[in-house]
Amino acid sequence: MTATPPTRCASLPVSGRRSRRRGHAATGWLYASPTALFVLLLFVLPLFLVLRMSGSDWPLLAGNQGINVPDNFHEAVSHRFFRDSVVFTVKYTVLTTVILLALSLGLAVLVQESTRWKGLLRTSFLVPSALGLASASLLFYVLYSPLAGPFADLMRSWGFTFLGTPEGALWSTIFLIVWRYAGFYMLLMLVGLQSIPDEVYEAARIDGASRWQTFVGITLPLLRPTLTLTTVLCVTGSLLAFDQFYILTKGGPDNSTITIVQLIYNVAFQGQNDLGVAAALSVITLLALVIINIAQIRAFSRRADD
């Protein structure tokens, strides 16, 4: 008899607590649901759609014609521009990443150190970032134009056009991208530089390190998180390059500047109109991106542990 009331009393709050916890969970889901719905509809669903497309015979106009695994993948890798576009995209990515990151780090160091022109320099480096990539590409399309551009006469007298040769087209596009993004990456580098405490630099000065020794021995290692972020951003962005080439070169001259995304676009909407093969190419690109990014992050964090 004496033991019953306590048990009953003890059991009551437990069930109350449990139902309250269930209530908490429901409220939580309610709060998360708009974002969850957004992610589901715009990211997860399209991903599954692409995966399904890549395994199906799916012409642009006729729609889904049934499963044909692995024909699309086979067709994708044996596409006559597949190899060339991979090689070109990788080449473009390496060049852009190296030039852009080196330059933006240099600019960041410059605007951090110079006191007098700091504001003006920072602003002028950042101005191009205010322009959309497509607008910037159109601007350069006119600048590079051998007919209407400001350098038209110069090009005519030198017998040279910016976009007329494969090398010229590549470097002209890299120039545009560096101009457009240097300020943005400079800003990221600047944030990284400013997170390094002044005292560490003072200690290095007292320790007698030269400017170069300080840069290599202190700045670069302590900038590693920023370098990881910028490299991942820049590599991913460059591997998915499309707008600038679509506007400036359309893959030309002589199909020399076809990037992977340009190829996907061409296969899907330009002539071949095969969504299945395009989706297969997209899946291959996605896998490659995931592998490359994991490799980059691993490489950077491994060196941090040394």
Partner: protein, 371 residues
């Protein structure tokens, strides 16, 4: 080893209306441990950074040994510095931190390893040579910062509040370690702190700073026993010296029943200033309990019993000084008493200042009047 000398050295921060360091004249002898002490913003860290070369000198010179280093960069001054936050290189191991300066100077690898090992042995850091700073305790980090200075065998050590990030107990033990290490190595040292106990226990001499100016440079005991200004009197010693403004009557300062006879020279100096009052200072230990009719009366506000001593905090009626406007002026008085028979809170007791255990300062200038 070397001497360090400030010659009229001045530093004005851009946009500041008064110099952070104002025409410093100070010599640190070869092998001496000099402590720069003062409240926040008194210019002590700036002075240290001027020796280091981290802060430019706007006027005057800085000399280390025979050399004028005013315009030399830090690396050519042969100094080493310990920073308040240690400023260890977070990406380098303890050995890497210790060896950074040697590597920068192009010291050969074997020599580098030898010196790193010797320094690590000196500071009990041997087990941690491969660890990164973030894997070390506060005390170990502090020792690495010390080691980074020691390993270079410089002419001068500069230390900027190196103990302020340690807990109280560790601070006391590290304090003794640093002081004895400095004596053993015999390297000229300038040490900045805001803690007057650190200053008193560590320094061969102590320089007290206020608002960019040197107040007094002397041995700890001399500072304690003969402060030259009211500021030094109040700053050095814990609890602080009691400072009371007392009216002058016939060459004596009067405080309650206490009559403090001024020396002839002091009286003359006060008269020359046209002063009607002087500031009288007496340390808590200069007070003793007395019966009626002697000394001055206080009402006990608080008693701190520390075992060996008891500190009595009380309020006394301040002496009436002409020209003052507060209605019922009171002053707080601290007394150090033997722990037995200490009065309780709210009691009224009388205290007497022991003979000759007082200091007399000019109220106007804050300077000590001649004895």
């Amino acid at each position: 080893m070397a001497t360090v000398e400030f010659v009229e050295a001045t530093r004005v921060y851009p946009g500041a209306d008064r110099p952070a360091v104002d025409a410093f004249e100070l010599q640190i002898a070869d092998g001496e441990f000099l402590v720069l002490v003062g409240p926040s913003g008194c210019g002590k860290s700036t002075a240290l950074r001027m020796i280091a070369g981290l802060e430019p000198v706007d006027a005057g010179r800085i000399r280390i040994g025979e050399r004028d280093v005013t315009d030399l960069p830090p690396k050519n001054r042969d100094i080493a510095m310990v920073f308040q936050n240690y400023a260890l290189y977070p990406h380098l191991s303890v050995a890497g931190n210790l060896g950074f300066a040697l590597k920068a100077a192009g010291v050969a690898k074997e020599e580098r390893t030898r010196r790193i090992r010797a320094t690590a042995a000196l500071l009990d850091l041997e087990p941690y040579l491969d660890r990164k700073p973030r894997m070390l305790s506060g005390g170990q980090r502090q020792r690495v910062a010390m080691g980074r200075a020691i390993v270079r065998e410089p002419q001068v050590f500069l230390m900027d509040e190196p103990l302020s990030n340690l807990d109280a107990k560790l601070r006391v033990s590290t304090r003794t370690q640093i002081a004895s290490l400095q004596r053993r190595l015999g390297v000229t040292t300038a040490y900045v702190t805001h803690d007057q106990v650190e200053a008193m226990t560590m320094g061969d001499r102590v320089a007290v700073l206020r608002e960019g100016q040197l107040c007094q440079v002397d041995t700890p005991l001399a500072l304690y026993e003969r402060p030259e200004t009211v500021f030094v009197a109040g700053f050095i010693g814990s609890p602080a010296m009691n400072l009371i403004e007392a009216p002058l009557e016939d060459g004596c300062a009067r405080f309650g029943e206490t009559v403090i006879p001024l020396s002839r020279a002091a009286a003359r100096a006060a008269a020359d200033e046209g002063a009607t009052a002087v500031t009288v200072g007496f340390r808590p230990e200069a007070l003793e309990l007395r019966g009626d009719g002697e000394g001055f009366a206080i009402t006990v506000d608080l008693v701190e019993e520390l075992g060996a001593d008891a500190y009595l905090y009380g309020t006394a009626v301040a002496p009436a000084v002409s020209g003052r406007i507060d209605a019922t002026p009171t002053v707080t008085v601290v007394a150090r008493l033997a722990p037995k028979g200490v009065p309780r809170r709210g009691e009224k007791v009388r205290l007497r200042i022991r003979d000759d255990a007082f200091h007399v300062f000019s109220t106007k200038t804050g300077r000590r009047l001649p004895d």
